[in-house]
């Protein structure tokens, strides 16, 4: 089952997502990137229906870019998060997106921030959050071990502990995870945590 979680540290925010694309009992691929980089300093980790997820994240990414083209300055993380919520809320009673969003960003004035927006457009600014069955494990680990202003080493260590907990205790635990970070230097991929590498095409 899809696991997405994130946390805010000292001058940075991390978003972690599993990387399996699954249909019922079949695993299509184990290196599906579910954390979209919206612009230089924003990340959006998503879980939910695959089609909705891709469509919605691309829609948000292009609108964020459009704002920057039109106005010459980038959207703040808070504005992006509110825009995302409003798109989900407007669609909710017409043609709902089944997408849960964890939006992380870094603004020069306000520092790192993380927003929880679930599929019915419930919006909240948080320090740590998670979606999916994995949340039962990662939220508990973070409740115990998280404190505000963690250093990058401490935060990645906590992330690894959460991933270990998910792998140990979730019956259909996803094998691989990707970790992305956003800080003053921008949004980028930080690391992968793979326990199964996709097999190459086997020779006939």
């Amino acid at each position: 089952m899809e696991c997405v979680f994130g946390l805010v540290g000292n001058g940075f925010a991390l978003v972690v997502a599993d990387t399996s694309a699954v249909s019922s009992i079949l695993v299509h691929k184990s290196n599906e990137d579910k954390i979209m980089i919206l612009d230089s300093h924003k990340l959006m980790g998503t879980s939910g229906e695959h089609g909705d997820r891709v469509q919605f994240t691309e829609y948000i990414q292009k609108n964020v870019a459009l704002y920057q083209f039109r106005n010459g300055i980038p959207l703040t993380t808070a504005a992006t998060a509110n825009f995302t919520r409003n798109e989900l809320a407007t669609a909710l009673r017409k043609n709902p997106y089944s997408v849960n969003v964890l939006l992380a960003g870094y603004d020069k004035e306000t520092g790192p921030s993380l927003y929880y927006i679930d599929y019915i457009a419930t919006f909240h600014k948080i320090e740590k959050g998670a979606f999916g069955y994995g949340s039962y494990f990662s939220l508990s680990m973070m409740d115990r071990l998280y404190h505000s202003g963690m250093s990058l080493e401490e935060a990645v260590d906590l992330v690894d502990k959460c991933i270990l907990e998910i792998r140990t205790r979730l019956v259909v635990a996803p094998p691989n995870f990707v970790i992305k970070i956003v800080d003053k230097d921008g949004a980028r991929e930080y690391a992968w945590r793979e326990s199964i590498k996709d097999a190459g095409v086997s020779s006939a």
């Binding site: 809320a89 909710l92 019915i120 457009a121 419930t122 909240h124 948080i126 959050g129 949340s135 039962y136």
Partner: protein
């Protein structure tokens, strides 16, 4: 589970001597899981008018945005703030507009009207107003709140005593409801000042 019990909430407003108090719990949950313990359920419309929105969080947020919009338009046109009675009628009308596809919210409105006369009211999700002279309640803990308020309330309390009463009523009631709690948020509004306090109760 009912849609009104999806996020969990507790709201209460009480009338005092030339003042009112409005209080809410702080839990934001998704059914059995707690997402945040610092969720704001009570919002300011203007200096002497507050609205608390219980029920589904996404609809509470959408409804709040619509109400702020309508009130700002009113301020521009009338060059004054809305009276609480007028605002209650506005909320009722907006809710009834969606009679056959409602917002799943239960508002609790509290304000100081003409001559700083305290005004409180609540309504159901389709705008049926219920005015009261003493207290109004809303949310998943409403039944417990009715009992606690009925026994603890007395008329013409001053601001400090009103604060004590409403806090005790709130904390006692949310302890009997698993979907609300994690502390409290109380606003006590008099003609001259607004006192905002956070309560620490059983943090579970």
């Amino acid at each position: 589970m009912s849609i009104f019990e999806y996020n969990g909430s507790a709201l209460v407003a009480m009338v005092g001597k030339n003042c009112f108090a409005i209080a809410s719990d702080r839990r934001l949950g998704v059914q059995l899981q707690t997402i945040a313990t610092d969720f704001q359920r009570i919002s300011k419309i203007h200096e002497k008018l507050y609205i608390g929105l219980a029920g589904l969080a996404t609809d509470a947020q959408t409804l709040y945005q619509r109400l702020v919009f309508r009130h700002k338009l009113y301020q521009l046109r009338e060059e004054r703030d809305m009276k609480p009675e007028t605002f209650a009628n506005l909320v009722s009308a907006i809710l009834y507009e969606k009679r056959f596809g409602p917002y799943f919210c239960q508002p609790v409105i509290a304000g100081l009207g003409d001559n700083d006369e305290p005004f409180i009211c609540t309504m159901d999700s389709i705008g049926a107003k219920e005015l009261a002279k003493d207290f109004v309640v809303g949310g998943t803990a409403s039944e417990s709140l009715y009992g606690a308020c009925e026994s603890m309330y007395k008329p013409d309390m001053e601001a400090e005593e009103l604060f004590e009463t409403i806090s005790q009523a709130l904390l006692a009631s949310v302890d009997r409801d698993c979907l609300s709690g994690w502390g409290g948020h109380v606003f006590v509004v008099t003609p001259t000042e607004v006192i905002e306090r956070t309560l620490k109760g059983r943090m579970d």
